[in-house]
């Protein structure tokens, strides 16, 4: 509450300021939700990374183009050796950090090798731990040496957290935010206001905005009100909030493929889900299109067949899975449950929709005699005490590219293998995919892995959800794409 009052005071103060300065300066206003309680860090690889700000102050080596495929950012080109164990990266020249120092291969070495530092406990370590070392070939060339072949390295370098920081800056980066991005940190206060100013010497051209101001507003309803009152230019929405903005000429609402998802995870190491037939029977009777319609509305997501891979990922498998109640009944009967089966599913009121998701599944599953007892666990500690502990639970993931999620959540023994899936054939396909340099070949393998998950995996994923954001009408240059696709130096405010 106190935070809300402070935020409200800060906003009203800021508004007075705008009125006077508007003509002179283009100030873009956003809110941060304080979901890390003020620990939001400017260190891009911290578990509490302040990613909205980090996206603007740092650059990656590789970014995605509008189709989600790797495109040059600080790296101008990348090539690997025949076995995909060594990657040579050519770097942009003439790029400087906000403190004036030049960006070169030594910074790449420092940034990438730092990810593995056990003291930092970065969540990225589990994704990029196969980077053995980085060699500085010359200031404009770095060589990334891998401990295992990986043909998809550029895709992983696109991760929103792999952002270049100056060599040796690890101790101070969490508060200085010195990067090569289009905006520089003027002041940093995640609980109050964080102010960014344009980096006039940004290597892709000077940004069109003068300033970006982030105000901490923890409550989603308060953020909405601030947006309504014209105190913010940009805000993310949930589906329920759309009607307030949709028909208002002062705003535009964007609906973009994002790929976050809820799932229902059955532990493959726990009876009765040790039987692949039962796992499949749990997943195939559901009308996924109807489930998506009930949960997020038509056109606000992409239905899928348990692929965890984000909807616009080039490696996503094109699967089709119309509801198959007869098939499910048959599988249940074969597995010894001709009269249906009683199961318990845990969920929690943790994220909006997490309980409803279970309720919709409960109704859908009832059609084939799967009688679901819903147990509502306390939200507090759900990820520690319930998820990966109970036999069946609702899960929630943000969008991840194919190689990352297929390894992170399904490879035998990986830390977040929530269904305890263990299939060496599956693991070998992923190893092979990583080692396959040819794009079409790698795609075939990743898609094969997703087909295996649909046939016998333990995770039910009916759809990937779109992202929703609202912008004031004067905002230009933000495409309806996920946050890390936005090219912030091109964003402008043009009053209409």
């Amino acid at each position: 509450m106190l935070r809300f009052v402070i935020a409200a005071a800060v906003i009203s103060g800021a508004v007075t300021f705008t009125a006077a300065e508007a003509a002179a300066e283009k100030v873009f206003r956003r809110a941060n939700d304080l979901s890390y309680g003020g620990k939001e860090s400017l260190d891009p690889i911290s578990a509490t990374r302040f990613y909205e700000v980090n996206d603007m102050v740092y650059s990656r080596l590789v970014r995605q183009d509008d189709n989600g495929e790797p495109a040059p950012e600080l790296a101008t080109a990348w090539t690997s050796n025949d076995t995909a164990t060594e990657w040579t990266i050519a770097l942009q020249s003439g790029v400087t950090f906000h403190d004036g120092s030049a960006f070169d291969a030594a910074d790449v070495k420092y940034t990438l090798e730092r990810i593995k530092d056990p003291a930092l406990e970065s969540p990225l370590a589990s994704v990029l731990d196969f980077i053995e070392r980085v060699d500085v070939v010359d200031p404009a060339t770095a060589k990334i040496v891998l401990s295992k072949p990986h043909a998809g390295l550029p895709l992983l370098l696109m991760d929103y957290r792999v952002r270049m920081i100056p060599e040796g800056s690890g101790a101070s980066i969490a508060t200085t935010g010195i990067g090569t991005g289009p905006f520089k940190i003027e002041s940093y206060d995640p609980e109050g206001q964080t102010v960014l100013v344009a980096n006039e010497v940004y290597w892709e051209g000077s940004p069109k905005l003068d300033k970006v101001v982030f105000t901490a507003i923890p409550d989603s309803e308060a953020r909405n009100q601030a947006m309504m009152a014209g105190q913010l230019n940009f805000n993310t929405l949930t589906l329920d909030q759309i009607p307030q903005f949709k028909d208002n000429p002062a705003f535009s609402v964007q609906n973009y493929p994002a790929g976050g998802w809820f799932g229902l995870v059955f532990r493959t190491d726990t009876a009765p889900y040790t039987d692949a037939r039962i796992r499949k029977a749990m997943r195939i009777p559901v009308d996924r299109a109807e489930m998506m319609k009930l949960m997020v509305g038509e056109g606000n997501g992409v239905t899928g067949c348990d692929q965890p891979v984000k909807a616009n990922d080039p490696f996503r498998a094109p699967l089709d899975c119309p509801p198959d109640p007869e098939g499910a009944k048959k599988l249940l009967a074969e597995a010894g449950y001709p009269e249906g089966i009683d199961i318990e599913v845990h969920t929690a009121d943790l994220e909006p929709g997490m309980v409803r998701f279970a309720e919709v599944y409960q109704q859908q599953a009832a059609k084939v005699g799967i009688r679901v007892k819903l147990t509502l666990a306390p939200s507090d500690g759900y990820w520690d005490d319930v998820w990966m502990k109970v036999p069946a639970a609702i899960t929630s993931w943000s969008a991840r590219p194919a190689d990352q999620i297929l390894n992170e959540a399904y490879r035998t023994g990986s830390a977040w293998n929530e269904s305890y899936y263990a299939n060496s054939a599956y693991d070998q396909i992923l190893d092979k995919a990583r080692a396959t340099l040819d794009f079409a070949g790698a795609r075939a393998l990743y898609q094969e892995a997703q087909r295996i998950l649909f046939e016998e995996g333990g995770t039910f994923i009916p759809y990937q959800q779109n992202g929703l954001r609202v912008l004031t009408r004067d905002v230009q240059g933000i495409k309806p794409l996920d946050e890390d696709y936005i090219r912030w130096h091109l964003v402008d405010l043009i009053p209409k």
Binding site: D240, E290, D349, R356, Q362, P378
Partner: protein, 284 residues
């Protein structure tokens, strides 16, 4: 029975008492008749009828899953009423028994037991219940003893102080001199005298427990879907209060009218019996 009829007549003569009693009666009637009068199955989802405003097809509109809000609202108090009734009985039973026993025993036992009760009362009930729900999981079977225990604590105070008024009276002393057992004294001498206070307290406990169950359901720890429940309905619809008010207004109206009704009726009843209603202890 004339006593009961006189009390009822007294309650009905007071406007607030009459309103309260009518509200409670209507709620009881709805709860009993609901399964036979609801037009739709309360759990059936309909993707083609999401968030429809009230109409003749759906009197109270539909919710985010296309379910009929009218049917859900009519059914939404039943489970919580059942839990509250059983919990209140449980709370009254152990609370009064312990209160009377320590009042009769006095001395060290009284002091020791009451300090333990003091300490327990200091823990907010919701923390206590959340702790147990976290450990045992949420189910009706687990909630009843939990709420019964936690709300019984304040009954111990009431029963003890009500009994203390009588333990030193001549008829109790006489019974003791006659050599009657403590149990007989408690049942035959004390109970008839403190019965009214306890009954009023029991009815109040019921409404507090009902609110507690609704709060737990609101927090996702009470009545589990697909059973509809007012607290759960309010929690689910609170984010769309402005754009689809019908999803949240009806469970609110039903919940508050029930609680207000019980309170008005119990106040009038306490007045009719000539007893001061016990104020809410920190426990409640």
């Amino acid at each position: 029975m004339t006593g009961l009829r006189a009390t009822l007549a007294y309650v009905l003569r007071q406007p607030s008492g009459a309103v309260g009693l009518v509200l409670v009666a209507v709620h009881l009637l709805i709860a009993l008749a609901a399964p036979f009068i609801i037009p739709y199955d309360a759990a059936t989802q309909n993707a083609a009828a999401i968030l429809e405003p009230p109409s003749l097809t759906h009197l109270f509109g539909t919710d985010r899953l296309g379910r009929d809000v009218f049917s859900r609202t009519l059914l939404g108090g039943r489970e919580a009423m059942l839990i509250s009734t059983l919990s209140a009985i449980c709370a009254m039973a152990w609370g009064s028994l312990l209160g009377i026993v320590v009042a009769l025993a006095g001395g060290l036992l009284d002091a020791a037991v009451m300090r333990v009760v003091d300490a327990m009362v200091a823990i907010p009930w919701i923390l206590l219940v959340m702790l147990f729900v976290a450990a045992l999981g949420s189910s009706t079977a687990a909630l009843i003893p939990l709420l019964g225990f936690s709300y019984g604590l304040s009954v111990v105070y009431l029963a003890r102080s009500a009994a203390l008024d009588f333990v030193a009276r001549d008829f109790v002393l006489a019974a003791q001199v006659r050599g009657e057992s403590r149990w007989t004294i408690a049942v035959k001498e004390l109970s008839p005298n403190i019965r009214d206070s306890l009954a009023v307290q029991g009815a109040m406990q019921w409404s507090w427990i009902f609110l507690a169950v609704s709060s737990l359901s609101f927090l996702g720890m009470g009545v589990a879907p697909p059973t509809p429940d007012w607290g759960q309905m309010i929690a689910d619809a609170r984010g769309i209060m402005r754009t689809a008010p019908w999803t949240v207004v009806w469970p609110m109206v039903f919940l508050s009218s029930l609680i207000i009704g019980v309170n008005l009726a119990v106040d009038a009843w306490a007045k009719a019996l000539g007893i001061e209603r016990l104020g809410r202890t920190p426990q409640s």
